[in-house]
């Protein structure tokens, strides 16, 4: 089973769990939104979601 992916929010610094293959992510703590990228099974932040 793939390891659960987490990234740290770049605005409020809480750790956020990333659903598998998610392309977008919202921080549950501060609400900022991200576009996600994947390197194999590893999640990473690609950029800010556009409003």
């Amino acid at each position: 089973m793939a390891e659960e992916q987490k990234v740290r929010c770049l605005n409020c610094f809480v750790r956020i769990t990333v659903p598998p293959k998610a392309q977008k992510l919202t921080c549950p703590n501060c609400g900022v939104e991200y576009v996600m990228a994947w390197r194999g099974s590893q999640a990473k932040i690609a950029g800010p979601a556009k409003k």
Binding site: R8, L10, N11, C12, F13, C30, V32, Y34, V35, A37, R39, K44, I45, A46, G47, P48
Partner: protein, 634 residues
């Protein structure tokens, strides 16, 4: 052993060459590389000389551990009096040149005078000779290296050279080796051009050896493991330095279109992921490095098909991209290729070109000033190759840009343009927007080579690490995890200046320091490695003191040559006047607070033992053994 490597003094005016051992006393005080170069420049440059006069001096050096088994010990330093700032000129590059120079028997080269015709230096197994380079004058950086290898008949020769930009005295011309290793900042290449020095070729088979070979090998392996086990090494190995861009663009810590915004529009087109999809062709590393952070790229289709190179770096993404409002990879890669070919600093070019676009947009300059060029942001990608060529050959408006910030502004004669030109001490600001990050702002403001991040940047300040971790890295507290805070930031800069001074003097890579990760090697590791390789004993504190000595000597150089004092240690006015326009809530609306910045500056000077004007006190000079400089030990 590295201690057997020599120093060669080359008088370009007379052609005379003198080879000397490096006194152990100087090794103990300055190690080598940038540190010993600072000593040589302070001692050998005629005070007050014009940077482009024969009285200026050029140094080229490897660090104390250069060419040894220490990981990534292949960095090369070149110094001079800067034709941009009139202060300490200093540039640093990776690759394979300085190890080859070490294998040829030399750690330091000192050039004085001016050759009456173009020359290059050939360094090989203890011998040093000047050779005619008239046939190389006018050649670009790629061709020059190739022709010298052919002429000397050895594919293994490493060449450092300058291109057309240096020949044409572009003030931010640089020195290069390989496809993209660049001694980029402060216009060192321009001084090479002024002296008719086209290149240095090196080849050697004189092994370096170690004082304690088994211990040195074992410790090098341990160090390598320490490095490659970090997350940052993994990210660097996969994405190169572009991994940083994903973070800084997302938060809003970048300069877009000069200083108009702090995130890229259409950023999706310039991601490292897009680069991997279309242009990635491989990865390479510098001498002895376990990380391999450098991409190779190739354009496979379209009008630029077949073009290839090394990089891009995070800096390339922004200098050939975001700073000019360009967000397509092919324009960025093409621009990067041209910069590598002509041989000048892409950061300096991008800063001054972005300024020109902004003042054109604001109506401060028009087509009469630009020689007919319409500097509209939307056309920047289309104009980039033309502008790069105009700068390299000083054609038309490019002649003004080639002068660098201070002189271009003066020549333009429009005082209202000054506010928009970002520079510190005459060196252009780079790609970051430091308004929300007081530590990073203080670092670029006080850097001993003008605005630059590689003198002190504590990038780990952005990682929101626990304060306890920061206290360990920065030798005690109080520290604040929040990168927008002013608490502890002066100390971060002071500590990082010592870290970078020491690694630049032993000749290892900054990526293997606490620059990005608290788990990387520190003074303790460097002290052990120096001992196993050279037998020289230093405590970690003694290495910190060497870092302090080097930085203070550079400060003395800047005071002597350019009268730099507190007034020169500020970020541009826009950092205080304009709030950050966009980005995440943590940065949006922030600007630097002048009073708090001044308090940081006071704290920073006090840590160094400098007075309120930023001038080292008599007691500080005595404590560091600098009170009798220039001392002419060699």
């Amino acid at each position: 052993m590295p201690l057997t490597r020599k120093i060669a003094f080359i008088d370009l005016s007379s052609g005379k060459i003198r080879k000397e051992p490096i006194p152990k006393q100087l090794r103990q005080l300055y190690l080598g590389g940038r540190g010993l170069d600072a000593y040589l420049l302070y001692n050998y440059i005629k005070p007050g000389c014009d940077p482009l006069a024969p009285e200026n001096v050029i140094t080229v050096s490897g660090g104390l551990l250069c060419g040894s088994v220490a990981p990534a010990a292949g960095r090369c330093h070149s110094g001079t009096k800067s034709p941009l700032t009139n202060g300490f000129g200093s540039s640093n590059m990776g690759g394979f040149f300085s190890p080859e120079m070490t294998f040829a028997g030399f750690h330091h080269l000192v050039f004085t005078g001016k050759a009456d015709k173009p020359v290059y230096l050939w360094v090989h197994n203890g011998e040093v000779e000047l050779r005619d380079a008239r046939h190389l004058w006018g050649k670009d950086c790629f061709e020059t290296q190739k022709l010298i290898r052919e002429e000397l008949g050895d594919e293994e020769i490493q060449v450092m050279c300058v291109g057309q930009a240096a020949e044409n005295l572009v003030r931010f011309a640089n020195v290069r080796t390989g496809l993209k290793n660049t001694g980029g900042r402060t216009g060192v290449g321009c001084v090479w051009g002024s002296k008719n020095l086209k290149a240095i070729a090196a080849r050697g088979t004189m092994g370096v050896g170690n004082k304690y070979p088994q211990e040195a090998l074992d410790y090098a392996q341990k160090w390598q493991r320490q490095v490659v086990d970090t997350k940052v090494a993994e990210a660097l190995g996969y994405d190169g330095t572009m991994f940083i861009w994903n973070v800084t663009n997302t938060v809003g810590l970048l300069r877009y279109r000069n200083f108009i915004f702090n995130q890229l529009e259409d950023w999706e087109n310039l991601t490292v992921e897009k680069f991997h999809e279309k242009y990635h062709a491989g990865v390479v590393g510098c001498f002895g490095c376990p990380i391999h952070c450098r991409h190779q790229w190739r354009i496979k289709e379209g009008p630029l098909a077949g073009l290839y190179g090394e990089g891009p770096e995070y800096n390339t993404q922004m200098c050939m991209g975001g700073l000019l409002g360009i967000t397509d990879w092919e324009s960025v890669l093409h621009g990067s290729h041209l910069v590598d070919k002509y041989g000048f600093d892409m950061a300096e070019f991008a800063n001054i070109a972005a300024w020109a676009f902004e003042i054109y947009e604001k109506g401060i300059i028009n087509e009469k000033d630009t020689g007919g060029l319409k500097l509209q942001w939307a056309d920047a990608g289309h104009l980039l190759p033309q502008l790069l060529e105009m700068v390299a050959y000083r054609k038309g408006f490019g002649d003004l840009l080639a002068e660098g910030p201070l002189r271009a502004l003066k020549r333009l004669g429009k005082p209202e343009a000054e506010y928009y030109l970002l520079h510190i001490k005459g060196l252009g600001n780079m790609i970051s927007d430091e308004r929300p990050t007081p530590a990073l702002a203080l670092g670029v403001a006080t850097s001993s080579r003008g605005c630059d991040h590689l003198r002190s940047r504590p990038a780990i300040d952005l990682l929101h690490l626990p304060e306890k971790v920061l206290e360990e890295v920065f030798d005690g507290g109080p520290m604040d995890s929040n990168f927008t805070s002013y608490v502890g930031k002066a100390k971060e800069i002071w500590v990082m200046e010592r870290v970078f001074s020491v690694v630049d003097s032993i000749g290892t890579c900054k990526f293997q320091t606490v620059f990005f990760s608290p788990h990387m090697p520190k003074f303790e590791e460097w002290a052990k490695m120096i001992y196993y390789i050279t037998g020289m004993e230093f405590t970690p504190q003694e290495l910190r003191d060497i870092g302090e000595r080097v930085y203070t000597l550079e400060r003395m150089f800047n005071y002597r040559e350019a009268k730099h004092t507190r007034k020169d240690d500020y970020v541009p006015e826009r950092y205080f006047a304009e709030p950050v326009p966009g980005g995440f809530p943590i940065v949006k609306g922030r600007r630097l607070e002048r009073e708090k910045f001044d308090e940081m500056l006071d704290e920073y000077y006090a840590l160094h033992g400098w007075d309120k004007e930023g001038i080292p006190t008599k007691e500080t000079l005595e404590k560091l053994g600098l009170s009798k400089e220039p001392s002419h030990i060699i």
